[in-house]
Subunit: 144 residues, 2 copies
Amino acid sequence: MSEIKNQTKKILQSQGIRITSQRQLILQELIKSLKPLSAAEIHRILIKQDSGIRLSTIYRNLKFFSSRGLIREFNLDRSRKEKFYEFIESHHHHLICTSCGEIKCLGCPLEDYESELAERTGYQIKDHNIKIYGLCPECQTGDI
Amino acid sequence: MSEIKNQTKKILQSQGIRITSQRQLILQELIKSLKPLSAAEIHRILIKQDSGIRLSTIYRNLKFFSSRGLIREFNLDRSRKEKFYEFIESHHHHLICTSCGEIKCLGCPLEDYESELAERTGYQIKDHNIKIYGLCPECQTGDI
DNA sequence: TTATATGCAAACTATTTGCAATGGT
DNA sequence: ACCATTGCAAATAGTTTGCATATAA
């Protein structure tokens, strides 16, 4: 069994999640991927690898993994309407190139701000996300 | 002519945007509203006020206003799938109660961070948004 | 063996589009 | 008068659901 397949299996097991080949495939792609993927992207990848997995199965499992806190589900706000999904390794944010769509992960600049905000508003802060939009170095030629 | 209707008209005029009753109605609601609205919410409000405006007209104009920089279009990421729209008065962010859905506007804590980020990544930063999720004081009773 | 997950097809929601009619300038 | 905008209906995209079958434990 390949290294990543093994790792994926362990993760599912440790969470008490029933192991199916489809779940392993989906989670593997999210773990391998360096950037968030959409349901359709995952489907495209898995279909190429023979597996006759259905889109509905992918959606169901993405929802399921999210509810178990294994992955994070979010929108990109601009242009696209699909949701994106990523394996949660650590709290971070995204820098998105509005021209080519490339997504880069960033650390979190809000640690102090959050506690100050909680104090000021009375809110009990649970989470947050930041998306930063710009042009990546490659897309800056011609300087729009 | 009512004060706000007048103001709306002036905004459209100053932007060289053709004035129609539908555009005035849509923009008025966004200006009056203290929080972002979805297309369906705007539609519901305007239908109640007699106007037989169509959802498609609302969508078309929301897109149009966004492209002209009059309003901002964004997702809420959690739970809901619709987009939300707000009149742009100044750059700000949102604090969202995950229990009752209340949306509060916040200032921007990222001014310095952005320039540091541009330097570090080579990206030309254009914009960003932050969403912070938590429980508002009212929803904290029972402390989940 | 039994509950859970999947395949499949159909439904649903939010949004977009084509086209003829209407309305602003 | 002319072109932009609207109404209307139909299309589309992304996602969800119901039900029979297959599969993990």
